[in-house]
Symmetry: C4
Subunit: 260 residues, 4 copies
């Protein structure tokens, strides 16, 4: 079995496992259910984890260049080790949806916007769950889910009021992850606007637009036509040559060489 | 009646309704008037809301492709549901003003600057009103209008001192909106500077400027001229050919045709 | 007297007045001197203000299109009304220094870096003085000059710890100014890096560089040479024509027309 | 001995001295060892400092244009004066590693990402050590190494909760350095995304790509071929001319010259 086929087969099971993890973990943290239900949820989390672990091991075994795969798929390893990253798999679905909108021109930016919005909301949601889980146990000031969501937004936007602050090691690690996501978010937003403005500014004045491949192709077409004109002239010339005294032209095959 | 015509008709009534909402809501929150005046203001808010609702319903009914219109006009739906977004309609006037300045080259960036400045100030103002409305009732630390304005500025710039922090759900939702506006603001500012610097750097050294459509057009003109020269030569050559069979050249006017 | 000449004459007096203001205000706020010295400093501040006021009025009177000058020189009005903006005049000197470094290629970015660094440090310094002046009187937590500098840095970088926060209206207005400067600073830094990276990426692979005006000029030179070759052929053709039966070419001047 | 050779010789000793400084300072601050070990560490720090001092003095003496070298190597002076900057030398190693990955297209952005990530982590680590060193002595709220790391991350990301804040002058200077690094970090992240998005958008639609040097070169090749065709025609024409005075064509090798 090839790696490519394995990836196609595991695509949907992994998304389902991601959603399973997301739902189970949400119930576990927000509802905080009784013993029996809690044990069931715990089992479901293990099933989700197992799915990711099996996919990782099989992929690593199948991969033709194992070390290369290992280094280029560190994110996959991270989703096995850090359950928090697992829901990011759900973004695959977002990508599929993005493919549906076919407006060619703005597609790249549109996809980036959809993907970044989706990823940011997922990161905020999962980080809220995780920080609540960690801080409630550690006795921090983040004690309810709405508080956790509020805290996550103030962190990812780098506002950082400081009214709610994680105090446990786990909570702070999650916070640092959120802050770095915030920097990435800001970077992508700036970059997307920059790409859009550059396009607007050049679109405004057509003659000041950057020359594109299409323009160069148009030029090439004109030059090709020139050559056709010349080629048409060429036999005309040869006819002229033919009239010339047969002796005085030792390099007669030259015109035909020009054609080749 | 077409959608286009309806839009032209409702343009100004909607701007008036936005201003009406802005003024009425400002008085209601800042002045906090007595019973009788308060009831009048409440009525005016309903009138403003009614204008937006009627516009939305009529537009949806008139629209040729109803679902398409629905999905591409989610912002219009939002202005009906979330009164806070309604004042953004006033920005239409800002856009009209921006059209007045006709400096072609810098127009796009100039319009972006005017629009973003206008939108940011409006967002800060309306968010201050809304947060004051919510927090005063919820017993938060934001108790006066100057405090609310100060808080809104520390939030939209992502500074977030934390001296004033919303504690109600409504206040926090408004705060998240402000934070996201702040990220957008920063993105637009960065992007506008980036577009300007790229232009400056290339303007500095003419020979290092990106080739523009104007340059390609100049090239094309030269190639076209070359072709004209060749076209004029062509009959000349044919004339030479003509010498071979001395009689046969009825198409004498050809050169003049080539000239046209 | 023309506006241009007036500007040349007042260039240095205004820079001197800016420095005078900066030094005087610094002594007044940081040293907080006794009655007699304080009165002298107050007089010097009035002299500085007078210089700016006279320059503004004379410029407005001299200007050929008074309203146009008024709207395009709102910053000059601001330096008269808001003394805090006056020291920004000193940046003129920075610009002059920047001209000294003549490395053409990186000059624009180099100048932007020098100017923005200079402006940011000046803004931080002046805002620290102003906020200390305002808060000390208003009983805020910002009580010493090092505290004010520290607060200014946490604000302009949008970090906003919140350990020191202005509480007076004046202090908060200065704070908002600093925050907006911070957004501008971040925007310029991002944009400068963006311009640099775009240049690096294209420099890496020469064949993937954007075509520049220099390249188009090289192409044009080649086409021009082609035309020269054709022009050389043209008389050759004419010679051929000349040989043709004298009767059969009524449009003899055609080749010379082709040359024009 | 030339400056270039000295630089090659001192490359590795300086990196070793950086690592020595980093390890020694880490042990000194985090472990806070007893008298005898502490004295040894202090000696090692002096050795590290000595290496940098000697390198600086020798380089300055060797340099052909001493003042020019002085002004263009202010960073080297800073690493002698400010020990905190010394570990940044280690980044040289990161650069060497980056050279190993040879994927030409994405190399510049890849190198920037690796370098910036490395530099940011080093800056956070060293700033944490330094701030802990300063604040512990000054009685600030940053008392443990994990607290210092947490504070450094909230500062470099410009989140600034304010739960931990430096109060000593030294700590605040380090904090300002971190904040400025944060702005630079954000700028580089935005710029890298911007460069990437601009590339994606243009890659999406080939005909809308900017014309590159490669395209212009292709055009030039076509024009050159046109010229060859014309050059081959030229002698043919001249041969026609030659028919006029039948004898005179001594320059027979001309066509072959035109061909070369």
């Amino acid at each position: 079995m090839t790696l490519e086929r394995w990836r196609r087969i595991t695509e949907w099971p992994l998304i389902v496992a991601s959603v399973l993890f997301l739902v189970t973990y949400s119930i576990q943290v927000i509802v905080d259910p009784k013993e029996s239900v809690g044990a069931l949820l715990e089992d479901l989390l293990w099933v989700s984890w197992g799915t990711f672990l099996i996919d990782y091991i099989v992929s690593l075994v199948i991969a033709p260049r194992r070390w290369h795969w290992f280094f280029t798929h560190l994110f996959n390893l991270a989703t096995v080790v850090l359950p928090m990253l697992r829901p990011l798999r759900v973004l695959r679905v977002v990508t599929l949806l993005a493919v549906l909108q076919r407006t060619a021109g703005r597609a790249v930016r549109g996809q980036i916007v959809i993907y970044v919005t989706g990823a940011s909301l997922l990161v905020v949601y999962v980080a809220s769950l995780a920080v609540l889980d960690a801080e409630r146990a550690g006795g921090g000031s983040i004690a309810t889910f709405p508080d956790a969501i509020w805290w996550a937004f103030t962190t990812i936007t780098t506002v950082g009021y400081g009214d709610l602050v994680p105090v446990t090691l786990e909570g702070r690690v999650i916070a640092v992850g959120l802050m770095l996501s915030g920097i990435a978010l800001l970077g992508v937003v700036s970059a997307t606007f920059a790409s859009w403005i550059v396009e607007q500014v050049s679109a405004e004045n057509t003659s000041r637009q950057a020359a594109t491949v299409a323009h160069v192709d148009a030029l090439r077409a004109e030059i090709a036509e020139l050559r056709t004109v010349l080629a048409r002239m060429d036999p005309a010339l040869r006819a002229t040559d033919a009239k010339a005294p047969p002796v005085a032209e030792p390099d007669g095959p030259d015109p035909s060489a020009a054609k080749s």
